[in-house]
Structures are given as C-alpha cells and as structure tokens.
C-alpha cells in the first residue's frame, strides 16, 4: 500500500468513522441463573393457566366449550373410575396401548431386519428403496380406508395404521446404522472369513444399535399419533374412540381429559425409550 493511499484512508477514517457514533449494537446473550429460569417458567405457566381460567370462568368463552382447568382435572379423576362410551378411561387407554404395542412391535420386527439387510445387500437396497420412496409420501393415516377394508375396524385396521406410521423410522435408522458402520470393522470381519449373514447379525446389528434405538423413539411417537388418528376414524374402543364420542355429546371436559391422557401416555412411552437409549449409548461408550 502506498503512503498516499494510507494517508487517504486515514483521513477518510477520521471523517467517516468518527462521524457516526456506535449505534445500538448486539448485546451478548443473557445467561439466566437457575432460580431466574424457574421464576420465569412459573410465571409463564401461571399466565397460561390463568388466561385459560379467566376465559372460561368469566364466560368470555362459553363454559360448555372451554371448561376451566380444575374442571378438566376433576373430570380426569372421575373418568378413571366411571365408564364413558363403554369403558373407563383406564380401560380405553389399555386397549389403545395394546394396539400401539402390537403395531409398534410388528414395525420394529420387520423394519429393523429389513433395514440391516438393505444396508448390506446392494440389490435389496436397489429393489426396496424405490418402493419405499413411492410409499413414503402417503401419510400413514391415508391407509385408513384400506386398513378398514382389509382388517376391519376392531383390532387389525388400527394396527395396520400404527404399523404404517412406525415402520419408516425403524427401517431408515437400521439402514443408515448399517451403512455407516466403520469400514475397517467390516473389513476386519471379512478378513477373518465371516459369512455374510454373520456379518449382518454380529457386526452390523450391534454397531447400528444406537441408531436403531434413536429410530425406535421417533417411531414410537409416530405410532402413538397414528393410533389416535386411526381411533378417531375407525374404532369401537380406545381413547380416540372415547374422544369422538365425547365430541359428539359436546362433553368438552371429557375431550380435554382424553387429550391429557394421550399426552401423558405418549410422554411415558418417550421417557421409557429415552431411558433405554441412554443406557445403550452408555454401554456403547458414546454418552
């Protein structure tokens, strides 16, 4: 840089740079202490429940359509013992959960082995992937008419819907897990003369377990959600069916009770799987 240029720059710096004082610049992100966090969180929750109560209790929204929080809670406790639409809340939940468990296990039992095999055998990958890509864009819930037609509305139909929701993450995560196994490990196994099938079961499967378990968690969430959808449309029992019945009778508190129950069970399923996931990850040394 020539001296002349430098002088020019320095002069211009004085004229332009000094002319404008610092405007409101970005401030660093605030760090909250635990107690501040708790306090704000409590305010948020109280505000949420407060507005809800206010809307309901003042009659701004008709009580019939928006019961107050405590009324939902009372209804929740009532329904634990009192039958509604043929069964108590607990019984409805139990029958929903059974369907969920069947559909979910079926999806895992088919999806995981298929995913692993696709990760090892190229031809299988080439054959399944286009079919899978084609079916992927069909929302699980869109299978409802065929599910009802093929398996009825009792147990079979809903299970098929759950299966449709739960299957893709099982397959994809097993496949990815198998594809991203360290090549050295596979080559070491091959060097030791391991057969193809044994590589799948004794190398790919254990190495993919973290990925598979992560997939199972996603899968369970989708399965639970698909189940509720299916029960809303075709079912004669279960918590979704109970909701539809309550909706038809304008029993808003009962509808909300069901939502609460669905949320709680969904949360429990997720927490349980998360526990398993952390335990497995720890055993695999990737905390």
């Amino acid at each position: 840089m020539s001296l002349a240029m430098q002088t020019k720059i320095n002069l211009s710096e004085m004229s332009a740079d000094r002319a404008q004082p610092q405007r409101s610049a970005v401030t660093p992100p605030i760090r909250l202490t635990r107690s501040e966090r708790m306090r704000l969180g409590t305010i948020g929750l109280i505000g949420f429940i407060g507005i809800w109560s206010l809307l309901s209790l003042t009659g701004l929204v008709p009580r019939q359509f928006l019961p107050a929080p405590h009324e939902v809670l009372i209804r929740f406790i009532e329904l634990l013992g009192t039958p509604f639409a043929g069964a108590t809340l607990v019984e409805h939940l139990a029958s929903s959960f059974m369907r969920f468990a069947y559909g979910f296990l079926l999806a895992a039992m088919i999806g995981i082995p298929l995913g692993l095999l696709m990760g090892w055998y190229r031809w299988l990958d080439d054959v399944i992937t286009p079919i899978f890509d084609m079916l992927r864009f069909i929302a699980p819930i869109a299978w409802v008419p065929f599910a009802a037609l093929w398996f009825g509305t009792g147990i079979g139909g809903p299970i098929m819907i759950i299966f449709a929701g739960a299957f893709p993450p099982c397959l994809i995560n097993a496949y990815r897990g198998a594809r991203f196994v360290n090549r050295n490990v596979i080559e070491a196994a091959q060097m030791l003369g391991t057969s193809n099938l044994r590589i799948v079961t004794e190398v790919l499967l254990p190495a993919s377990i973290p990925s598979i378990v992560a997939g199972l968690r996603v899968s369970a969430g989708l399965a639970w959600q698909s189940l509720i959808g299916a029960e809303l449309i075709v079912a004669s029992a279960g918590v979704g069916f109970m909701m539809v019945q309550a909706q038809a009778g304008v029993a808003t508190a009962t509808v909300m009770t069901c939502m609460l129950a669905i949320g709680l069970v969904g949360l429990l399923i997720d927490v349980a799987l998360r526990q398993i996931e952390t335990a497995i990850r720890r055993r695999h040394g990737q905390s």
């Binding site: 970005v26 948020g44 079919i131 819930i141 869109a142 009802a148 909701m243 509808v255 939502m259 969904g266």
Partner: protein, 258 residues
C-alpha cells in the same frame, strides 16, 4: 454409473410391481376386486372423478381445497412459529417464559386436537386450519430455536467486535445461520400438515381428498380409495419439492463447492 444402475433397477422394480398387480387382480383374480382394485378399476375411478364428480366435486376441486387448507395452516404456522423460535433461541428470558408451556402441550399429538377443533369450530375449514396450524407450529418453533442455539459463539463475538447493529445482526447473521435448521423444521411442518389434513378430512369434511377417501371407504369402492391415496401422495410430494427448491435457492452458499 451407479446412479444409472439405481435408476434402471428402480424402474424395473416398479414395472415388476405393476405386472404383479395386473396378474394378481385382473388376470387371475387371486386378490378379490372388493379388496384391492384392478388397474382398470383404478382407471375408471380416476376418469369418473376427473371428468365427472365424486363426493360433491371433481378431483381438481377436492385437490384444490386440500392444498388450500394445507398451505393456509402451514404458512400461518411458519409465519408465527419461525419468529417465535428465533426469539426463544436468542432471548433466554423469552425461552424461560414460554418453554414450560411448550413442554406441557407438546406431548399431545396434533391429531388429538381434531375433536376439540371440531367442537369449537365445526366441520368446516376453520377447524382444519386450526389443527394443521397446530401440527405445523411445533416443528417450526423447535427447529428455528435449535438453529439459533447452535450458532457458533465465536461468530457472535465476531459480530459484536465488528460493532454490528441489532437489526443487521438478525438479518445477516442470525437468520442465515439458523436457515438450514429452519428449513428442516419447515419440511417437517409441511409433512405434519398433510398428515393432519388427511386425518381431519377423514374424521369429517364436505370437500377435500380426505372426504373422497371417506366416501370411497363407505361405498366400498377400492378404485377410488387408491385414486384418493395417490392424489394425496402426489400433492404431498409436489409441495415438498417446491419447498426443497426454495431451500436450495436460499442456501446457495452451502452448495458451492471449492
């Protein structure tokens, strides 16, 4: 080339499936036409709903109706969800205030809101938009939030060192940095929107592809069920593709290779 190979095997697979479909239904009748339609049944159903009417309307009317509701719900959700997520990601006070409410509501799957939406807003469009909004909202917020949280602290220090004004920071640093995650969220939101729409229309609607599925199920008309499913899949695919294009355009800097 491997890409070519995949394409060939892919097409071959689909051709084989079509052939099996034909043989199993039309040619041999091993699968009863009351359970799964023959190719010809499907064609008949398609021309009936395309040139005539089924379930109160032609195919394009149903499709248009469904797409309209999905886009409406999706856009409102993204329009509110992304800014809220950005705010929660940057401002820890907003995060602390709102997060517990989220934790309370999030475990309830969007589909479980359908009865309440119908109770509140009836069987018309408003209820569907509400449920779609709900389904699309959560992924938009969560991913935008994660995107901001993941910004390299050194980049924020560089921004401060350079004396960047707040608004310029938001526009030129925070949003571009979070954009890949924002798009991940939008893709999930769009997917959730379609799922929710179909469910909501199956539960009760006057128009829309879900309505077609519903009526076809009641009529035990497998050809029409298949047409309805394929239509939903194609529209879902098309909207996802459009979003993907927007994403690629917005994230051009990531695509450039050195």
């Amino acid at each position: 080339m491997t890409n070519n190979r995949r394409l060939i095997v892919g097409f071959a697979t689909l051709a084989v499936i079509a052939a099996i479909w034909y043989v199993m239904t039309e040619a041999t009748g091993w699968i009863s036409p009351g359970r799964f339609p023959t190719p010809l049944d499907t064609w008949d159903a398609l021309s009936q709903v395309t040139f005539g009417e089924y379930a109160n309307g032609a195919l394009y009317e149903h499709a248009f109706h469904s797409v309209k509701l999905v886009l409406l719900g999706f856009m409102v959700a993204a329009g509110i969800g992304v800014p809220l997520g950005l705010l929660m990601g940057w401002n820890s006070k907003a995060e602390a205030l709102i997060n517990p409410i989220f934790l309370l509501i999030r475990p309830i799957p969007p589909l479980a809101w359908i009865p309440l939406a119908i109770l509140w807003l009836g069987l018309g469009d408003a209820a569907k938009v509400m449920v779609i909004w709900f389904a699309a909202f959560v992924p938009s917020v969560v991913n935008s939030y994660t995107g901001v949280k993941a910004i390299d602290p050194a980049v924020i220090e560089a921004v401060r060192m350079l004396g960047t004004p707040r608004w310029r920071f938001i526009r030129e640093v925070m949003i571009p940095a979070a954009l890949p995650m924002i798009f991940t969220g939008l893709r999930l939101s769009l997917q959730a929107s379609w799922t929710t729409l179909v469910a909501a229309e199956l539960v009760g609607a006057l128009y829309g592809l879900g309505r077609v599925l519903n009526v076809a199920q009641q009529d035990i008309y497998p050809g029409m069920i298949l047409v309805g499913m394929i239509s939903v899949a194609i529209l879902g695919w098309a909207t996802t593709m459009i979003l993907g294009q927007v994403e690629q355009r917005s994230l051009r800097w990531m695509q450039v290779r050195g």
